[in-house]
Structures are given as C-alpha cells and as structure tokens.
C-alpha cells in the first residue's frame, strides 16, 4: 500500500497509479456536494447547461459541514455516507470529474464508472470532522446557498488524508479488507 501526495485537478495519469488501500494526502481546490446539490448538478448536465465549477479533473467531497466558528473558514467537516450519491456519481465521472470523497460502500454502477472514466472513490474517516475541518484552509459557497449545509462550496485543502476505496481497476478496499479479517 503506497502513499501519495496529489494536487487537484486530478488527471488520468494521477488516478491510474492509485490502488485500493493506498493513502493519499490531497491538496488544492475541491468541491462539496451532497444529495440535494447532486440532484441539481446532474439536472444541469442533462440540460446541457453550465455547472457552477469546472468539472474536468474535479474532486467532489460529500460533506455537510457545521457552521464555522468566528474566524474559521469552515466548521467540522467529515464525510457523509456515499451511497445516497450513487445514482448521480456515474454522470459526474462521465463528464470529467476524477474523484469522490465519502464513506461507505458504492454501487456496482459507480465502481464500473470508476473503471470506464478513470475515477477514484476515496474514503475519509467518518466522524473525524474536527480533524478534517482543520485541513481545509478556505471555503466559499459558490452555489445553492439556500441549501444551508448542503450548498456547493469551493474549498482549499492542505494534506487532506484519504484512502483509496475503489480504484480504476475494479478493486474495492471494503471487500478486500473484510475478506482478509473475516473469521468463518
């Protein structure tokens, strides 16, 4: 299991070197979106309209942060459960997004889309919101402010720790890890 430091936007060259179980420190700009924002983003794509950010090489973080304390860019910001985005993620990957950060298992359709479009599903430690929030150095709502915690935010991260769950070769860390430690 290798360790990498990567800067967004990600390219196929970046994602193809990653294998399930590798750990990555992410740097640069990423975008936040949960259920309600994904629904709107995919609707825009289907209508052929412009998205509020450049989707090419983008990494999407499934998170609904707590409100920031005065002087902080963001509050606690750990991942939410990813399966709720399963119906939207293949479209996002098809249109150039290269990475997703969340927690929990994904559907076969998402895993297939990772293979087809060189996408990576990263897992971040759920419930480590204080630690992960501190890796975010700036945050700005760029779309759907009415969604509150679910608004789309452009955030800058520094050495944001993630683990590769689904790689571009069809591997799944959840299945591999469980198989290794399961006692029949």
């Amino acid at each position: 299991m290798a360790q990498y430091t990567l800067t967004t936007p990600l390219t196929s060259e970046d994602t193809k070197k990653l294998k399930a179980g590798d750990t990555v420190l992410l740097n640069g700009v990423i975008y936040t979106a949960r259920d309600a924002a994904h629904k709107r983003l995919v609707e825009l794509i289907e209508k052929g309209e412009e998205l509020p950010f450049d989707i090419k090489g983008s990494v999407i973080y499934f998170v609904g942060p707590t409100p920031p304390k005065p002087g902080d860019p963001i509050g606690s910001a750990g991942p939410t459960t990813s399966y709720r985005m399963d119906s939207y993620s293949p479209t996002m990957l098809k249109h150039g997004s290269k990475g997703m950060i969340g927690k929990g298992k994904r559907s076969q359709e998402v895993k297939d889309a990772c293979i087809k479009y060189d996408g990576i599903y990263f897992g971040a430690t759920g419930g480590a919101g204080a630690l992960l929030g501190k890796k975010i150095t700036s945050a700005e709502v760029i779309a759907y402010p009415e969604l509150g915690p679910e608004a789309v935010r452009k955030i800058t991260v520094k050495d944001f720790p993630v683990t590769v769950i689904n790689d571009t070769y069809g591997n799944d860390l959840y299945e591999m890890g469980r198989k290794e430690y399961e006692v029949k």
Binding site: P65, P67, K69, G123, T125, A128, A130, Y174
Partner: protein
Amino acid sequence: MREIEFDDIVKAVRDIIVHCGTDLPQDTYDALKEAMEKEKSPVSKEVIRQILENADIAKEEKRPLCQDTGLAVFFVKVGEDVKVKGGLLKDAINKGTEQGYKDAYLRASTCEPFSRANLKDTVGYNLPAIIHFDLVEGDKIDIEYAAKGGGSENVSRAKVFPPAAGKEGIINYVKEVISDAGGNPCPPITVGVGIGGTFEKAVISSKHALFRDIGSKNPDPELDEMEQTILEEINKLGIGAMGMGGTKTALAVHIEANPCHIASLPVSVNVQCHSSRHTHITI
C-alpha cells in the same frame, strides 16, 4: 412538591449539549483506545488513531467532534413530586437544545420529511428534540441525552419474529443487520438490541440500550452472556474501523429485554457510531 425553575432546566440541557458535541465521553474514548491497541489490521488501527486524535482536537479547541451533530434524543424520568415553575418541561428541553446547538456551532439537521426543508428558521434550530418521558417516584428529574447521527440510524432495523426463533434467531438477525451495514454506520460501533415488549417497545429499548456506558456490565447474567456472544460474532465479520477490514467492528453490544406477547418476539437493532456522544444528569 419540589419546584424547579424552567430556566435552570434550559441551562442544564444547553450545557450537556455543548459538552457532548465537543467532548467525547470517557467510556467511549477508553473503549476506542483499547480497540486501537487490539486491532490487527494496520489500516483500521490508523483509522482509530485518527478518531482519537479528532477527539483530542475537538476537546481542546471546542470544535464539534463530527459534522453530523445528530438529532437530540432524550430519555427523561420525571419524579411525581416535582413541578417545573415557569413553563413546561418539554419546552424547557427544546429551548435548551436549541441554545446548545447554536452556542456550540453544531449543525441544525432537522428537516421536513418530504420537501426536506431545514426546520431551523421555522420550528427551531435542530428542533424538535426527540423526547421519551417516564414518570417515577421522587422529586428529581433525571435526563439521559445522546446526539444521534444519521449514518448509524439509517442501518437500524426491527422485526417481529415468531417465538420459535429464540435466542439463535435473535443472534443471527443482529449479525445480519450489522453485516449488511458494513462501514456505513461508522464502526467501531455500539449495538443496541431491544428484545420483547411490543413492536415500538422493542425499538425504544434498543435506542435506550445505546445510552448505557460502554464497558458497563449488564446486571442480568443471561443477557450479559448474550451480549458477549453477539459481540464476538460481530467482530468475526471482518468489517473493521470505517469498513476498511479489521477485527474491531463493534465496541459493545447492549441488550434490553421486556416481557412480550405469547405470540411474538419483537427484536430491534439500533446502531450508534464510534462518536457515541451521550451523558446523564439529575436535577
């Protein structure tokens, strides 16, 4: 008849919410530390290390442990010889909840079920709280509180079995629920099991079981043995911390059992994530 001021209850509730949002209870912290030491998978070990580091940061800098600061759930035992002066007990608990969530910069997560509109500006900030009342002897008010996140709640289930299912049926059902849940409820988890009663009694018992301190022993020897058996079985599943594979999927199994109808065996499984934010006060 003892009188308690409305505002004193508001303040007490506000304080436990602020405290629980940022300060992981000692029982949970100790159980996670032990799990980290015993975990065989290096990946899961690292995840638990991050969870403990997160708890240290949250405590020191007064930051929410998790962005999912939960719905506020209360079990309240009200003494028959106590009266709240200046308002209703339920209103005081809701007011304290709102103040605590606002003061600690916790997230307002309540929404309307269909439109999904957030209720912070209409009903109140993270309101309504979920409150279970009980009437007891005495002149005190006993409040148990937990912040209940969505990820672990989403994998919880209940089923009414025929009596023939017995202990074996219950154990297999709990295993099945936890196996299907995988990493989604943020393991290492606590598993609350409610057995018997009616359908809703089993569900409420499984919730209440999560309020017990991790590491405490069930006073009923039969249930204690069953808790240990289920815990061992769950930890054989290999799910590990955050589902990444490992030997410490659950920190504890807590069971509450009730007498039930001769025709039924209700069983409920309620899961709590590793950020088991819970406390208990008596006013």
